[in-house]
Point group: C2
């Protein structure tokens, strides 16, 4: 069960047949550990592997010509990485370990096997990919049209929703291992303004902080503040002829 990251991940969504498992196991490679702060790969490299996060947090980012950074996604255990580069020869972003962690790589060619042999698995991968599109649009919406406080609220609720699915959210409290510069690079603010805005959220009684631990004091009000919708709770799999299932990411 847990010997394969990929099998573990996809079993969250679908009951895998023995042949599905066999298929996935066939192209699993050796996992690899990355120390805190290290890049797994950089923007523009030739990369043919996809990866599943086994443990630790990672993030995908790009650097602008003037040196500014944009972090567009934090990856938590169970997430599959590299889908977005499947249509390109070279990577379109860089990947970095936050606190140290382990990745399980598998070759892009494995995708071909999946599509050729298991339409059901292929459809599941497709569903995950298009679900991620919706998450990106949600994020865009907050970047384009919301204030600093609303952006931070959305950022925190998104992380909490994902941790909740994997059981890593001890309800109102979670650990946030990113510094304020990194948070700013995710939500489109400076580190200074992140600091001020966090304090404002505290003064409004919405959160408290203690080191890198965050407590969501009033999740309902936070949700209302930034119009948060939890996209992680369900994933519609009916179109490929499988009953709807609870999901995780």
């Amino acid at each position: 069960m847990t010997q394969s990251c990929l099998v573990a991940k996809l079993s969250h969504y679908l009951e895998l047949s023995p042949s599905d498992r066999e298929l996935l196991l066939a192209f699993e490679e050796n996992e690899r550990t990355y120390p805190a702060g290290q890049d797994v790969y950089r923007d523009g490299e030739y990369q043919t592997r996809l990866r599943v996060v086994k443990n630790g947090w990672f993030y995908s980012y790009t650097i602008l010509p003037d040196g500014r950074r944009f972090i567009f996604r934090v990856h938590q255990p169970g997430d599959i990485l590299g889908f977005s580069d499947v249509a390109f020869v070279h990577t379109t972003s860089s990947l970095r370990s936050v606190n140290g962690g382990v990745l399980c790589p598998f070759p892009r060619a494995g995708l071909h096997q999946v599509f050729a042999r298991s339409p059901r698995l292929a459809a599941l991968l497709f569903s995950i990919a298009v679900r991620d599109q919706v998450l990106l649009v949600d994020q865009q919406r907050t970047l384009a049209r919301m204030s600093a406080g609303e952006r931070l609220a959305h950022f925190l609720l998104d992380l909490a929703a994902r941790l909740r699915v994997t059981g890593s959210f001890k309800d109102p409290v979670f650990t946030l291992p990113l510094n304020q510069g990194e948070i700013g690079d995710m939500v489109g603010l400076t580190n200074v303004h992140v600091s001020r805005t966090f304090r404002a959220l505290e003064e409004e009684g919405l959160i408290t902080r203690d080191g890198n631990r965050v407590t969501l004091l009033d999740e309902a009000r936070l949700r209302k503040l930034c119009d948060f919708v939890d996209r992680y709770a369900t994933l519609d799999a009916t179109w490929f002829d499988v009953s709807r299932l609870p999901t995780s990411e």
Copy 2:
């Protein structure tokens, strides 16, 4: 050839076999015309159809609780719509016709047929979906980390790149049938600031405008300004065992 929007669209990427064509033709429904400004569907509706744009421009948008709007994508002829809602029971955005246009719908169940019978087509759809993810990230990057002028430059170059692929870009000039309020809702600015910023771009000699026609006077400088990368030019199809092809969207 042109009797089916879907066949026409996908033929841009892959040489379709007779059985592929037959498969796609089987679930094509009657096209439908929408007048200017009309909504095709609204956020939260139950929608099981995907659509191909036959002609006209459309856009996908969401409304915030305070009434503000965010437009996250303009759809041009040839684009496939609705992928992002495949993983959800209800739509996550609204769709509106800009100037009037025609859509060719096909049922979500058709996707199931594609995955079951043509791994190659399924892989192509997957590639298109993940390519779109990268476009969303590019857009996020400009929203999060770029100034008004850079955002507008990126917006114009994106439209131009897409029109170029379908041969609708008479090189430095194209028609932009959106008003400044809509443009603002795409790039995260007010209509007033869009007006001022357009004028600034004109004064710098980067563009000129005449009604809704825009001329890109110095595309090279525009590209440098917003670090634009053309993701439409190529799509890597090698992983599903097909030679790389020129693409269109």
